[in-house]
Subunit: 234 residues, 4 copies
DNA sequence: CATGAATGAGTATTCATTCAT
DNA sequence: TATGAATGAATACTCATTCAT
């Protein structure tokens, strides 16, 4: 399975210089194995025994970390969604324009479909089975939506409907991109998101201007304090 | 399982006055049973044996009509999608305005989520597993989109992206409505589709006006000639 | 399936100019279909439904002709064995030397393995499941064996053992030839049967001499009287 | 199922004083159960579920030891053939005369048909489905054949044909004996093998002399060193 | 904690046979 | 006689989960 783009790649790996306790290490190995099998076989086709086999462990071991088959997938769904979320939000930390913040979120999301189709499809699979995947992202989108509205950038009558349009469009577009059905993803994304922004009440010119701004880089998170301290000593 | 609204209810039933041959009758009973089980247990949880049991038949009988487990679901997906499609298109037969045609399609679709949540969720399940469900509808949407564009009602740069926004939004909205997560579906649908129409390039006022027009009735299809003739004789 | 050599080919076909009643014709079609399926799938893998399908009939029809699955195979076994037997015996009708008669029987048998491997393997399959295949041939072999003994050509202490050596050797050799494991069947058969004849008490020189005599032609049977009569009228 | 004669009986049992690990014990229990069911129902009629039932285990357990239905039968075929082979070869270890070695092999083989008909028939069944059964024995027979030839005892033109006569005759004779069709097996075997030896080029008197020599005892193998040591300590 | 053998209910699918038409 | 839809028991194989070691 092709690696995730850097800022996401480590969501299952120990932080730099970090050496998590064995229990945690085993758990991550299992989740990594689950990713592999899920990508290859799909949710329904993924068995505990194969996850264990891929992780190089005995089937029984899985149950020392997860009470149930479902629990593995759910843990994975939450971890993946949370990490993606964190990184995206962090990438537009300094930006004040609600419309731009939201456009960045959507662009980053669709960018994942283009650069890591396997991961994107995995995320889609999990989002269907585990609503948390989306529920975890929603608050951030809603925050940006309200910000943009208060700034007079969006003109939205029904927040709920707006969020549904945003997520519905992005989920579908991500799938189509990841499945290789979109010939020129860059242009496609640009046009698609301009339409969405217009739907949210922006004038076409403003939407185009927002989409023309550069996408801020997608950085690694600052290492947690403890890890940073340890690294300094080494 | 609550009945489908009238114009759809008969997609598995014999036409009025029709008495299909036994083979066809059994096939429909099986599909009906499949609907029940699918709704209750979900795609992955639906076994051939339970379909047979619900249909009051032996497991082997299923294989006189479908070569494979998949084939049942696929047949159901296609039948459901096709019927819905036919009825919707028929309901706006006389209407010339592309924007209105498209808005009617979307409204009718979401209306199904409201009036027949179980059926709507079934359709969603099937649409994930069988792309045909959507591919069968696409050409009609695309036709209306182009019509509206040629009439100067829509201003769309990328047809593909536009279609994805339409379908993505409607699929997600339909699910949320069917799952009862939307408090006031009427208003929600109105606002949602106005946003979509704006995204497709309409001015807010025009979008509002289109959405204000009445939804044409959803009629039973004219019976096929042969059936009508037979009925007249009876 | 490659045709059987002429004198055997017609064991499932109507005699020349013959037009058997429909019942008989259907029965033969079923047996022919059974041959095809058996050759392709083996005894255990042959289903009634496929025989019917290959014969272009409904499964139920089979049961108008055979009470049971077994019965088809048995009928086929007996028919095939009987026909082969008849033709072989007929081919050495005029020959008086018991040793030669027996050698001809064995040669003809192995010749089938070489010229019609598929049929030979079918015959082997059937002979394992239906002892009749062999029991039908035995009396003829035994007759020839006794003749040769009374002529002082064979020196055999135990008839039963002799017959078992003959059949055991021929059955195994036929299989190996039919499966293509024998590089030079002609020489192989010659050496093999010389050994068998020596085992039956002949001197090597006599055995060689018998095997050097030409194999009499394998002719079509004289048509049965009734058929001949009918043909003359036509 | 009647026990196998001693030297063969243990091919599924732990060596004396041995206590194999659990996995191995279970595997042998499964093979033993397979023997029972195969003998009673035949190859085609033997189901995994019945093997498991007879072994007192759950059906799934079988698949922890054999990947496939076939694999059980094959494992059994190989184990049975190998053990028989080993014991026979060992029983004529010190004998130098190739003709005698070969005659002992054949006699022992047919003796199994007489003393353990059920096992013999099982072996026949397996030998039809799994050529390995015979292929494993062939090299030894071929070795003896060549030895006898080099000693001037056999006069054989075609090794391949000779081996086929030997195996063909023995397989058929074994079946007939095991099925109780032979009234006086001792005499029968003696006459049969004299014929075979004559076929291989011996003079009748020599063949009779070889067959008159006593059959060497059929001993248990020397226990492996480790096992012997352990036993001494106990 | 990790192991991995064992479990046993569950699954899709096949197929000989019956029987109403 | 032929049909072919229906039957329903049978079967190989899977897999989440348990538990003794």
């Amino acid at each position: 399975m092709p690696a995730l783009p850097e800022p996401l790649a480590h969501f299952l790996l120990p932080e730099d210089g970090e050496r998590p306790p064995k229990r945690e290490r085993t758990r991550r190995q299992l989740l990594q194995a689950a990713v592999q099998v899920l990508s290859a076989r799909g949710l329904a086709g993924t068995s505990i025994q194969e996850i264990a086999r891929v992780a190089g462990m005995a089937p029984g071991t899985v149950y020392n970390h997860f009470r149930t088959r479902e629990e593995i997938f759910e843990a994975l769904a939450v971890a993946l969604s949370t990490t993606l979320n964190e990184r995206v939000v962090q990438s537009y930390q300094g930006i004040e324009d609600g419309a731009q913040r939201m456009s960045i979120g959507m662009r980053r999301f669709l960018w994942l479909g283009e650069t890591s189709p396997a991961w994107a499809l995995l995320l889609m699979q999990l989002s269907m089975a585990f609503p948390q995947v989306i529920e975890l992202i929603k608050p951030y989108s809603l925050g940006d939506l309200r910000l943009a509205r208060s700034q007079g950038r969006f003109r939205v009558a029904d927040e709920e409907a707006a969020i549904d349009m945003v997520f519905g469009t992005c989920l579908r577009a991500m799938t189509r991109i990841a499945e290789g059905e979109v010939a020129a993803p860059q242009a496609y994304v640009s046009e698609l998101l301009q339409m969405v922004l217009c739907g949210l009440g922006m004038a076409p010119a403003d939407a185009a201007e927002v989409m023309a701004r550069p996408l801020p880089p997608f950085a690694l998170p600052a290492a947690p304090l403890a890890a940073r301290a340890r690294r300094r000593l080494a």
